[in-house]
Symmetry: none
Subunit: 205 residues, 4 copies
Amino acid sequence: MGAVKPPSERMQRKRGKRIQEILTAAAELFGERGYDAVSLEHVAERLDVTKGSLYYYFSSKDELGTAAIETLGDEWTARLEELLDRTEGTPEVRLRALIHEHVTIAVNDYPAALRLFLMPREWPSAQRERIKELRRRHDALFRALIEEGLASGEFTVTSVDTVLQCMHAAMSQAPTWCGELPSAARGKAVDEVADTLMALVHIGR
Amino acid sequence: MGAVKPPSERMQRKRGKRIQEILTAAAELFGERGYDAVSLEHVAERLDVTKGSLYYYFSSKDELGTAAIETLGDEWTARLEELLDRTEGTPEVRLRALIHEHVTIAVNDYPAALRLFLMPREWPSAQRERIKELRRRHDALFRALIEEGLASGEFTVTSVDTVLQCMHAAMSQAPTWCGELPSAARGKAVDEVADTLMALVHIGR
Amino acid sequence: MGAVKPPSERMQRKRGKRIQEILTAAAELFGERGYDAVSLEHVAERLDVTKGSLYYYFSSKDELGTAAIETLGDEWTARLEELLDRTEGTPEVRLRALIHEHVTIAVNDYPAALRLFLMPREWPSAQRERIKELRRRHDALFRALIEEGLASGEFTVTSVDTVLQCMHAAMSQAPTWCGELPSAARGKAVDEVADTLMALVHIGR
Amino acid sequence: MGAVKPPSERMQRKRGKRIQEILTAAAELFGERGYDAVSLEHVAERLDVTKGSLYYYFSSKDELGTAAIETLGDEWTARLEELLDRTEGTPEVRLRALIHEHVTIAVNDYPAALRLFLMPREWPSAQRERIKELRRRHDALFRALIEEGLASGEFTVTSVDTVLQCMHAAMSQAPTWCGELPSAARGKAVDEVADTLMALVHIGR
DNA sequence: GATGAATGAGATTTCATTCAT
DNA sequence: AATGAATGAAATCTCATTCAT
């Protein structure tokens, strides 16, 4: 009835904020229990909202899922970039810091990660591509550092791709064992993971 | 008079065989698509029976699931043990062979093992313990070799536990990337994974 | 900001009303055929909705069942109380009227009440207690009248409890025989039951 | 293959005995939990036999059910007849003894009764008629005594049928409350029931 | 006579999705 | 923007019944 008034900018912002809230809650839940095991009811409940409301923002569970991952990935990548910005030194030093930070984030904030990142198969095919893209952006940070180290002769690897995959797998998996340790022991565990994974770029000697 | 005749041994064997058939089918499916994504209908279909029949052997999906994992784990471990039996050489040689075989099995036969093995969290607590036990048996093979290599001075590590976790994570994750390669390239990819992971026991130099 | 708005009172009422509709339908069915013989499909059909909808209001068949019985019991008790409100006279007169009304309700409206009320054993323990409580409230009406009559010397009994049990049993059982009579004969049959049962409070003389 | 040899008499007896065992177990179970709630699995389990075996003796659950009731009813009636055979005295004395015995049997042996006897509605219509017939035979014992007492002027009733119904209802219901008493108190409770029910044949005075 | 195995129909339950308000 | 209500498809589970051995 009458002209549909275009959403004011303020409204847009508000909407954006609500969406972020939803995505955060969703990412947490998917991360805790896996995509299949989380119902929209669960998501809604955590937000103190009804199932139906979610459809105002997302047109399907799949879409919500993908968006949740994307958010999570963006945030994660942003934090890693920030770290690199404030860390100086050789590729060795910086790569180790990056690994350490990645694991820390995984353990503290996204026990999620494994289920979300590492299992594109679990996702409907429409979503898979976007998840891979996300992964590429994320990997780029590590890849750049490794190549820098290779160029300078500090690092040796069999194959950059393989190293990246192994590194990523181990880092994302970390929460499932570090997460169970008493928090006192966690710091040390994370350090050990970082030290251990650095070996991957010092192959064959 | 009234003596209840216990099932004959032959019957017992037959039953056991049927159960193994079911478990194999289930393990394959769970391994391919993950627990949640597989319905009893799927399992039944692969066996050419009706859903209901499965309940003659297992009293719930959970029970079937746990048993299937156990089977899968047993089989896997058995294949690794076999490999070790027929492989001679230094710990270095044998560990590399073990990794190679593990990844090969993962890629060829159990692409979704990741979801089953690495995520005890998503299982009802009754099952969790049994899965962890399975994991321990599996890890034992790697652990023994690593310790042997450490004793002989061939290997250096930061922490055996950490190495095991990282190795396991990377190996189980392998199917998600190697699996997508054209089969021609797969062999090389698996080799590279093995070479790369061997670095984990040659830390710090 | 983020204030969760509680469901409006009007909505609450509406929901309550819907629940009552469901409970009434369920109580009727359970009362007619017994708990086991009624499927949620039946209940849904009578309400012209789908099975699934019922789960929006009740989280299981058991829960619906218990609530339905409670409703049935409340209604029944209420009708008896109403009757007492409008009936004057000696305990003798009023007790007879009460019995008569009870049997009438049983025969006309809840032919299967027997199965619901008299057999707490078949209910899960959670429900049993609530059913017993219901029964107590119901019995209280009869008990009060009987004790009044005893006090005034009009009645004689061996044991109030025993009389109550026998009375209740016979009244609830009535539908299984009165219900089969042609409706013309029913009135007389109910009268006879009432007269007969009054003998229970005139023991020994 | 060859002539089917007619079952020897010995076999017949053996068969009969087996059938009785089954019927007893079935009657107990139906009595404890109700017809619907008992599965053939339950019955078979109690007999240490497999479900399938029951079909050798009975062609359906319904048939087993009806036969079970019939057995139970026959046995019950026989025990009551026995009692009457050895009890002398006025109708008053004998009727009271009969009631007492009936309740005793109900409480001790067939908490069953209520669900089996009093609820023809719960049974498929084919069975209903046979159950009613059974009930008639059973009632006949009481009816004869009551009529004797009426003839001699000892008893007064409104309607023999009604008295029988009420009596039967209360007697069969007895286990649900007497059964819960500590066994010490049970004897007294049964006595009270008998005394109370005797009032039904001394109406109006 | 009895068993193990299988079936198929139906019951309970879950959940993504839609929609009127 | 959000809610309460409802739907329908699919999943898990139960059970009377059949049958080859």
